[in-house]
Subunit: 297 residues, 4 copies
Amino acid sequence: MTPTPLKDTSASTPSRNAILLIQCEDRPGLVSRMSSFIFENGGNIVHLDQFTDPLTNRFYMRLEWQYDKFLIRPEEFHAVFTPLARQFGMEYTLHFSDYLPKMAIFVSKLGHCLIDLLSRISDGDIRAQIPLIISNHPDMEKFAGIFGIPYHYLPINRENKAEMEEKELQLLREHQVDLIVLARYMQILSNKMISEYPNQIINIHHSFLPAFVGGKPYHQAYSRGVKLIGATSHFVTEILDEGPIIEQSVIKVSHRDAIEELVLKGKDVEKVTLSRAVRLHLQHRVLVHGNKTVVFE
Amino acid sequence: MTPTPLKDTSASTPSRNAILLIQCEDRPGLVSRMSSFIFENGGNIVHLDQFTDPLTNRFYMRLEWQYDKFLIRPEEFHAVFTPLARQFGMEYTLHFSDYLPKMAIFVSKLGHCLIDLLSRISDGDIRAQIPLIISNHPDMEKFAGIFGIPYHYLPINRENKAEMEEKELQLLREHQVDLIVLARYMQILSNKMISEYPNQIINIHHSFLPAFVGGKPYHQAYSRGVKLIGATSHFVTEILDEGPIIEQSVIKVSHRDAIEELVLKGKDVEKVTLSRAVRLHLQHRVLVHGNKTVVFE
Amino acid sequence: MTPTPLKDTSASTPSRNAILLIQCEDRPGLVSRMSSFIFENGGNIVHLDQFTDPLTNRFYMRLEWQYDKFLIRPEEFHAVFTPLARQFGMEYTLHFSDYLPKMAIFVSKLGHCLIDLLSRISDGDIRAQIPLIISNHPDMEKFAGIFGIPYHYLPINRENKAEMEEKELQLLREHQVDLIVLARYMQILSNKMISEYPNQIINIHHSFLPAFVGGKPYHQAYSRGVKLIGATSHFVTEILDEGPIIEQSVIKVSHRDAIEELVLKGKDVEKVTLSRAVRLHLQHRVLVHGNKTVVFE
Amino acid sequence: MTPTPLKDTSASTPSRNAILLIQCEDRPGLVSRMSSFIFENGGNIVHLDQFTDPLTNRFYMRLEWQYDKFLIRPEEFHAVFTPLARQFGMEYTLHFSDYLPKMAIFVSKLGHCLIDLLSRISDGDIRAQIPLIISNHPDMEKFAGIFGIPYHYLPINRENKAEMEEKELQLLREHQVDLIVLARYMQILSNKMISEYPNQIINIHHSFLPAFVGGKPYHQAYSRGVKLIGATSHFVTEILDEGPIIEQSVIKVSHRDAIEELVLKGKDVEKVTLSRAVRLHLQHRVLVHGNKTVVFE
């Protein structure tokens, strides 16, 4: 059987949009100044969302506009925009809708999140290319195979952890990966890797954080006797299970649900929660400040 | 016992904001033009949300700004804004956050939606004054009493329907009512009343519309054997149960739920759904076009 | 205005049912033995639910049968059933559907849970009588008034806590209360009171336990940046927020929700969650073992 | 690549349980008689659930017991049980937990439901063998391939519909299929096939039935402006979209969701709803009477 490569769905995008994510201290005139900047340079705004946190007075904005008739070329944008950004003290990132982000998936033994992601990418529901899958187990190679994705089996143990992670980093750099998704990857990443990909690593934790931090959350949920179980998708930071939360969901359970049943029900919540978080991030709808996210849905 | 009037919660609003709701055909430069208009006249935008329907090319916007230092006085706004509105073909409405809207509540025998609304208004969670409650039954008068709200018992039957509704209209006009809420009011309004309050009458229908239009929706749900029941809050138009939907919710049911149990579970969904819709409308977050709503949450 | 006493809804019960709640170690033949015991004594079973926890091998059962033609009189039941119960080592309680339980409600300043409960009792959706409401604040007296319920304002402070609680206990004993509901009562009960009412005190905690134990859970939720907030109804035990959970619910929130908005959205979840838990308990659907509940819905 | 056959997960079942599904007119003594029958023949009941519909006086029961020491051999059960069944006018079916049901999957172009089912079967979360997949399109063959499942591509058009369906029936008979799952199969089955598999064909309809019956339900939902979309899994009967409902779910949508976005969000609900319904049915938890189901969760 010939593998069916994930199709490049970028062709179906009717036109090129630019997305600008901004954050800075709030000041009067920001929205006006930004929307005028786009308009005066020939851009037609198709989406604008903004938010000011009243407690911190911090301003967040997402601007999306049609780029086709925009007067500033992509390679010139930084130079043209810098004075304005400096004036307001903005942090910003610029993205283009026709760029297909490169996403590495890490997985261990359980495949439901991986398969769900690949199925969505195959349908064009999540727009990304997957240059590689990395795993500490061989089990999921067959699913990588049908999509023609290289599968790197790197068995990690206590002795070789540093060495293996160095290999992983080389692979990620080599493929110029934009995003790492931990699709039920049961290894703790080193601070070195985390700091090389700040707010670019998305994990799914199988509990409704901050309840049941750490290992075996379904066992913890079972012994506490909760009536709902959940899943949390978050950016990975150096403190375990403490990174900025992107998306959370729950599902009802009862006394009849043994731990195996909690695991099974939890899978549904995990895969949907992770895929939503990945999609929101790849659509450039998530901004991070400190330990919290602003999600412009 | 002395009745406890609903407190005027407007005092707790720190400052006066203006909210402008706009809709028109989409054209480049709208966001820029509008935000500049506010900024150049001394307004600090605290919330901007916009949406363009790609199918109809219609543009919707909600703009909220601090009015304290705004250079245009409220009574001048219309004159100053008209040329800009005309240029873009805008329909618009202007609202002020310190105005306490006047809301009439219609109720029949079931009080759960009424009590829920009054309890929220009493807590300041919904900001409104209730100049009158109208009912075709006397049962709910006691709840009106504790809040010191006049209760008009107008028993309607086939013979006196036109006459009674005329009385209702007189009362509504007399109190200059901004919004009518049908809190499980089991009478069909005449077209005359509906046309006098376009998109100003909010109803709660006890099903997940468009399923189970018309009477006895829980009986219909029971005989169809559905596994979820719902409630729909919508603006009232001349076609029964066909008005623009503001909010919908559902709750799980099973074969064990007899019709009485569906009614009981449905009450929870009805009251929460209606109260949310009323709150969204009173915060000027709902725009209507044709048979659909745009809700800027 | 004359107060409207809560109606005695027991009259609407068509016939008297008995409900037997049983737990013991699992052994073959338990279901057969129990159902035969009921049948042979002239009872027609209308509901039977059972559960065996595979980890602890503990058996739980709820049996409901029509009592009208049952051969054993209520006052004889204990004597007749004791040998069977002893043989299997059963703990059991017997309840009758036409008994109207006596429920005391404790409340502080926030009334949404209290009003929701009273509204449901008034509608007959929860079957109970309320001989008294106890509060450390005077605010909610007006709502007690319309239902003609005595309101005991007992302001507690550090100095008088023991004395006040003694008064509360006297009131509870005097009224032979079956159940205490803490409807957002912001005082920690003494171990003395808790041990006098084991598994008879139901609290609503305004978070999705075990997340955000203790004070100000919405502040905790806000600073963690969660995307869902919740409420937990549980029996009160000596360890704060650690008692057996009866019911939990959540609601979606976003970065736009300031703490005040979390509080407001949380109220909806709190009142619905508490009322469901109270209703389940009063229908004798909740069994407790250790720190967990079995809920026969 | 060698295909990975779906593992026979029956080996992991610790012991053989029997499941008996019963329905008949309600009469006193049914539960007692049935539980005694099992116990006296050496069976240890591990699950008993029953329900009497008060409107129709119909009795439904699910009995599960350990079969290892049961005195009646499987091949004798029918003969031994018939007199008892006749006495009460019971309809019954008997199932064994170690039998691996044979499930045919029909699919058209959209693969999300198929992939979700195969992924769960592969994980052992749904226990079934898939002797064949039938499709009127070739697209999904690649997914059948990795699991080593024969894929029958039978392109149906107006001219060859009867002939193609005859081929399908031959395939289904040949493989002695127990259950047919329509995993977004966009062809209407003939009455002949439906009557050959009564209550053995499960479909997923992409709306919250009875809203939006028939074709293009997401288009219908879009033009009605609903705020929730749903999916319904039901048994297929001769009247389109009118069969007994097993499971329903919904997801929130907003004015921002164009039809494509509704389709995308709907996929999540469809696949989870269908898989749950299939799992409930395969665990013998679903009884059908007339147009409704009793689901013993």
